[in-house]
Assembly symmetry: C2
Homo-oligomer: 250 residues x 2
């Protein structure tokens, strides 16, 4: 036995990488952190940050390390979870590369620091990056699309939306997360009722914050609950268009 790996197996050269879909809500858009590739293939094109898994680290560990290297952020303060594995042959022209995609959610992060591979990293609105003309590298377009759908779905059934808000936050901050990611307008009053009456979602700090305009808003912090029960469903409302104004069925 001259190799430590499954000697009886049809082994062939494989590399394993992790790719990170790092989301934040900036302004009026869901934005994703992209790096410009500094080498072939896809030199000069945009890609998700990521890198090779090392021999002695697990997948989650590799994701945490890449997150820190690319953004300087501590993954324990962000919401980081596995999204899925992507391994079509031909997804990387250099050979067989299996990538495990992770989804990281965080509050409006500082402009990222230069990382290892990252010649420069920038925030790009997710829908712009998803445009076929944008030219994401590899199959990162599909990964990003899956990530957006995963985020949209998680907002319904979990409290991850608070991961996008720096504490303390207002109910409106939280509502804006939903509105931006779902692409629909939510009734402020109904949203407040739902959020404040769901045990463990948010808890008031007792303070208020004066905004640019209007009545100052009460401040909240995360309440600790992970699941949202009952869920907060994006219901009949249609996405994409129709952002302002109350409904009017008829």
């Amino acid at each position: 036995m001259n190799t430590a790996v499954a000697p009886e197996m049809p082994r062939f050269p494989v590399s394993v990488t992790v790719d990170l879909v790092i989301f934040t809500v900036r302004g009026d858009a869901l934005q994703v952190l992209l790096v410009e590739r500094g080498k072939a293939p896809f030199l000069g094109r945009s890609a998700l940050p990521g890198g090779y898994v090392r021999p002695d680290e697990g997948l989650d560990g590799a994701a945490l390390r890449e997150l820190r290297e690319e953004t300087g952020l501590d993954g324990r303060t962000l919401h980081l979870a596995q999204l899925g594995a992507y391994g079509d042959p031909g997804r990387d022209p250099r050979g067989r590369v299996i990538t495990v995609a992770y989804l990281a959610l965080g509050p409006d992060l500082p402009v990222p620091v230069a990382g290892t591979d990252a010649a420069d990293a920038v925030w790009v609105p997710a829908d712009r990056a998803l445009d076929p003309g944008f030219g994401l590298s590899f199959d990162h377009g599909r990964i990003l699309a899956d990530a957006v759908e995963s985020a949209r779905s998680q907002l319904e059934y979990t409290t991850v939306a608070v991961s996008f808000c720096r504490e303390p936050f207002t109910i409106s901050d939280l509502r804006r997360v939903y509105e931006v990611i779902w692409g629909i307008a939510l009734d402020p009053s109904n949203f407040r009722r739902k959020v404040t009456r769901t045990a463990g979602f948010v808890e008031p700090t007792g303070e208020r914050r004066a905004a640019e305009a209007g009545r100052p808003a009460a401040l909240y912090r995360f309440g600790g609950a992970r699941e949202l029960y009952p869920p907060l469903l994006r219901s009949g409302d249609v996405a994409g268009q129709a952002r302002v104004g109350p409904r009017r069925p008829g």
Copy 2:
């Protein structure tokens, strides 16, 4: 450049496998298909069916192939979806092996045919396989636990429960799937109301089936919808043991 794979990379020997969590509802239990390992490591112990990904196939393709090889079933007739990737160093004593787990759901399947690796494959109740004393190989216990939780959750928000029923089926057949997987008793009347009033969940065939006892039940087939809106939440109802439930205000 003497190798086709990322020459600048810290490459090391890695194998990529797919493992299948194949669920069915038999009798009163959620059962999982397990094979007895015919070689080291874990010789003679139970394991999830699976195998190595081949150089020319994608991950989904490998899962479909393994499913066919192990069970003789066509994956297109089952519900097959990726569960996640598991790649801790040391999860396989032979070396670094990354596995991509898939979750397959199907109606009460025939006793599986002998497969390639599978000396013999058997159905085992999931909770028995999850018992630490059962001794699943590798980290398959964790994978199975994740699979059970995924299945439980998917029942809430999707129509995958019908994947466990052979068409045509009765409402009670469908209800039994929920009861077995959630481990709680559901009110037959309320369940029927929910299922039949959710557009696209089930549609009547017009026929009836005489059961062992009681009034014959109307037969249904799948309605085509994938999402379940509004969801069918596992809340208060108690059963064998009593699971969760913020109910009982008075």
